[in-house]
Symmetry: C2
Subunit: 428 residues, 2 copies
């Protein structure tokens, strides 16, 4: 964890090799002659350089932040400090949810560079979902990750002073929050240069979003909650592209959007991305019903992610809440314990409602905003893609505007199941 | 605004004289020979030293923080950094609500010392209220102060980045927040050494508070909101002891509890302290109905404080919201403007509900917690005092637990008016 003192410079292959060779622990992990290490740039994300380095005895992943958005270029600068916030978040997650994030091997704040365990043979979960792969261990892992990282950084587990220190430590990550504020909570609902959608089929739907004032109020409320409800330390970008999996393992990566925000944003991100995998699935089928088992698994997973998250979060709360919220001393009697248990259910219901709203926002942005995802993008027939997208958007609109109609996660999956056979009217 | 480099030391009379004499601007304000300046310690608050210094041509007020709670002693340490947070808050308030706070003349962070304009002939408003004095300018001033300081530090006026910087700047004031969290939101509802109340008359009522689980849930929700809803930069202690008045002027002082919190906490503090002045009034009357005009004025003031605050806050929002919340671009159409106006009313209704809850918490703590106020304390007949207090507590319990029943400020004053003649059952 040594921290270099040099100024920032981009480490391309040769420089990276020299840098790693100068770090004894990493040299030992990689093994053999540095000159023979293979170094491959594999970053397919939007923001950073990512290298896989392999030596005679092992491999590592190296992530270096660029001072601009890689997807767009130098015209869109982005602070390097995000790498340090990512490092702080990853450290905290490793402590709270051991085994569910890649092991941290080295961080250099000046270089905005982090070296991590190489995840092999893990793949990005989203790719697996496109291929209709089921991940039986996913529910258990992601629900543990969310329950533990959110509970233990919340007012239920921290003193108010600890919580304020945490909020302050991540306040500097506001440029990353701003990306979310713009791309998720604003642009899809107005004319914005970076917006795109499956044209011409969704043209009318895109226009209706810009004209739907109930939706504008709903997204504005969610945006305000995102900005001003520091409930817990969020991953901040918890989609299926930030999760790497094997048949039996789950690793959450890339927490550079981490900050103290509303818990429902992380939970909603997972639900949204599973729902998109569900709606996209019909676009990938070779024969009608060919992915039925996968689709049933996805919806079951949506339900279980919420149910297991909620169960584990409540269990942590019941097992011992050392935080300043809901102080134990006010609920010590038998009557108090019973009343507190009712309040816990109310708290989770509120969190569920938040998650439903945020999930809807995450779906909508992937269909009308800047950043799309391969669930839909890999549906080659653009009309089929538009049909899948329109179904997802219809559910999202209901979840965002009629949030109160979704009281349980089964209400969400039930609505999704119905929309699976809905034929949207498309523009042409 | 020069900042000294020396380490902290307590400046008693001689040292303070030398210190001020070394500051040319202050020497000029005071005038004449420093040796002839009069220096009087007048701090009647709980935390600090306060000196009034007068010279040949003028006077100043000097406030120095002590490293402990003055009321309790060195056994209860308290960080000196609060003086710097107070200075930051006062500077911001002076900018946003000019003329409504004392002018800042000097601040020394190391000494935790601030020199301000001497407010003369202003008195602490609470003293005036005990004497049944009416302040016709108060509504206009306090509603302007709250509307402007809260609106312009909220997400409606700031970018998310500016807001996060502000939150971080005050995160270090957590020890002061902790006082509020303990003394207002926890202790009155449990057995705590520092609690006191008008015994024996309120013994049963005090016990009922400790056993009332609906109240424990309500106060816990308010506590969580206090800790985790950084909506705006609050004064944080906006009672009538933090307001100095003349017949025509209002000055808000002592923002050392400042932090980013829920707006309803400041608004509720003003409403609570006026309501306590109302309920205490019957205890101060010499003949039945002798303070009827004053009492009518107080309740009218309660209504106007909310109504004027709400009107001014909404006007600022309508006049131009440069913040990242409710972005203008999403509500640009005529239909959008109409929908946003409905949403503004919803926003204010939510803020009102918060204020009602926080007001109730502020009333309850003054009757059962550590810090009482002279409204009630100066009622010498302890049975009369208990009657006034019991009425206030009955209203507070309803406001906290049945908050939804208070839809308008007239619901609050109406309930208060009814309780003015209610005869509580007292313990004996």
């Amino acid at each position: 964890m040594a921290q270099g003192q040099g100024d920032y410079r981009i480490l391309h292959e040769a420089a990276l090799r020299d840098y790693l060779a100068g770090l004894p622990e990493l040299k030992a992990v990689l093994g053999g002659e540095p000159a023979r290490w293979t170094i491959t740039e594999v970053g397919d994300g939007n923001l950073n350089l990512v290298f896989i380095v392999k030596g005679a005895s092992g491999g590592v992943a190296v992530k270096q932040a660029l001072p601009y958005v890689r997807l767009v270029g130098e015209s869109w600068p982005l602070p390097l400090s995000r790498a340090h916030h990512e490092y702080l978040a990853l450290s905290k997650q490793a402590q709270l949810a051991p085994g569910l994030v890649p092991a941290l091997l080295h961080h250099n704040e000046s270089l905005a560079l982090t070296v991590m365990e190489l995840l092999e043979p893990h793949i990005i979960m989203r790719k697996g979902l496109v291929a209709a792969t089921q991940y039986p261990g996913f529910v258990g892992d992601i629900s543990t990750f969310m329950a533990r990282t959110l509970f233990f950084t919340s007012d239920l587990a921290l003193t108010a002073a600890e919580k304020k220190e945490g909020i302050a430590a991540f306040a500097g990550n506001h440029a990353l929050c701003k990306i979310t504020e713009d791309l998720i909570f604003t642009d899809p609902y107005r004319i914005a240069e970076q917006n795109r959608w499956t044209a011409p089929y969704l043209d009318a739907l895109a226009a209706s979003l810009r004209d739907d004032m109930e939706l504008h109020v709903a997204i504005s409320r969610l945006k305000l909650k995102f900005m001003a409800s520091p409930e817990a330390l969020l991953h901040g970008d918890l989609h299926t592209g930030s999760i790497m999996v094997t048949d039996s393992q789950t690793r959450v990566i890339d927490p550079e959007f981490a900050f103290y925000g509303p818990m429902g944003f992380d939970v909603g991100a997972v639900l949204a991305n599973l729902l998109m995998a569900y709606f996209a699935s019909s676009g990938h089928e070779r024969a009608p019903g060919g992915r039925a088992a996968f689709e049933a698994w996805v919806l079951e997973t949506v339900e279980q992610v919420w149910n297991e998250f909620s169960r584990k979060f409540l269990d942590l709360w019941r097992a011992g809440a050392a935080g300043d919220a809901y102080p134990v001393s006010l609920f010590a009697s038998e009557k108090g314990a019973a009343r507190l248990e009712v309040e816990r259910q109310t708290y989770m219901q509120r969190l569920f409602t938040d998650a439903v709203g945020f999930a809807a926002a995450k779906i909508t942005r992937r269909i009308f905003g800047l950043a799309h995802n391969i669930d839909f993008e890999l549906i080659e027939d653009s009309k089929k893609r538009a049909i899948s997208e329109a179904r997802a958007v219809r559910l999202a609109r209901a979840m965002m505007v009629e949030t109160g109609a979704f009281r349980t996660i089964a209400d969400v999956t039930g609505a999704a199941r119905k929309l699976r056979v809905w034929r949207p009217e498309l523009s042409s």
